[in-house]
Symmetry: C2
DNA sequence: TAAAAAATACACTTTATCAGGTATTGCCGT
DNA sequence: ACGGCAATACCTGATAAAGTGTATTTTTTA
């Protein structure tokens, strides 16, 4: 008798669930036992039922994929979890893996990629779809400069700058000296080698460093 | 004999295509004649083949959904086009409709919503899934301000500002007088009631008004 | 084709930013 | 316990931006 891998799909898009279900039905040692549109329902389910493999969207309402993965792995380290999303950011993928994820697939991956990744993952490998690979490998080799982060205070100030506040207004808002804010401004500009606040804000927003 | 609506699906996620195809296969007067992962392939196809209904993702590589819709409608106004995306922004939905789109569905819509929207759309209605409705109706009542766009020149200048260029540098880049650039800057700031360039850049980037 | 919008240009005043250097205090981690 | 980083603060001069007013030409569009 063949043991089938009991598989659960979690995605808040019914369309995607049905797409993946259709794909997985072609794999003969995979059995889809349940589908969920939220992580909470999944957490309940795995307490009472055996699950071998979870395919989950990273962007879920209420609880995000990274936290969900972490929570599941703490109690059920043997469950294989593969993350999915439409766009991928390097840092997000790394976070997911660091929290126990066994792989990451972009939704624009081909059917073959999906199948291959799933097979390899249940075989114990950490798997990525092609595009994810290029995304996570490129900046690591070429881009030596891992951009330094903003300190707490610097983030406060940058945020207010993006709201059009002047140095004096920021000083008032944060109960600081005008001169202190001026120093922070200068430090931020120097840190990222920016000419002025306009360029800085554009840079920070594009790199998701505000909020 | 029943005429089936010849339907094409365009999405760069194979998984989503297969999901929608599965759904539509349940509708007996819909016939899926083709599936594409890019808009270019679609444009070729409709030149030589009869198509009644197109379901397209808005975020596509190479050509975006809004432009694609516009191009198709110019030559084939009778084709019913429904847009889809994972997240929806009010302005994007409106743009899509203004360019001839017959409806907009969020991918997290239920199967029933999908079916209903498709039926209504081929019946001549402009349709939206539930979540889209709430998104486009909320800001409409409360948020009177339909933000005016940047003119071509203003966009040029805003772009250079976001790159940290000074007024003089922009003037040199665009072969304009310093004073002209100054005037444009002022006009842009006044148009959006922004205090300074930092706030402006943040605003423009958040509203996808650069590039 | 007439009106509206956009692009161009000039002058002047006030205020803010940028860039340089310097220094003290507190906290975190090794 | 010490070094390093973060946060705080001060000074000054040069430069740039912001605020206000006006005006001509070109392009778009109703």
């Amino acid at each position: 008798m063949i043991m089938k891998y009991k598989t659960v799909i979690v995605d808040d898009h019914p369309i995607v669930i049905s797409g993946i279900a259709g794909l997985l039905s072609e794999l003969d040692n995979i059995e889809i036992v349940e589908k969920f549109e939220s992580g909470i329902a999944l957490l309940d389910y795995i307490e009472d039922n055996k699950v071998d493999l979870i395919l989950m969207d990273i962007f879920l309402p209420v609880i995000n994929g990274v936290d969900l993965c972490k929570t599941i792995k703490q109690k059920h380290p043997k469950i294989v979890i593969i993350g999915m999303s439409s766009q991928s950011e390097r840092s997000l993928v790394m976070q997911f893996i660091q929290n126990g994820g066994n792989g990451y697939i972009l939704k624009n991956a081909s059917f073959d990629e999906f199948k291959e990744c799933i097979y390899k993952a249940i075989d114990g490998e950490i798997v990525f779809s092609e595009e994810v690979k290029t995304i996570i490998s490129q900046p690591l080799s070429e881009d030596l400069e891992r951009i330094p982060g903003l300190s707490r205070r610097e983030r406060d100030i940058a945020l207010l700058l993006s709201q059009g506040k002047s140095t004096q207004e920021i000083a008032d808002d944060l109960f600081l000296s005008f001169l202190t804010v001026q120093t922070h401004r200068r430090n931020i500009l120097q840190k990222y080698k920016m000419k002025n606040v306009a360029e800085l804000i554009a840079f920070l927003l594009k790199n998701n460093m505000l909020n």
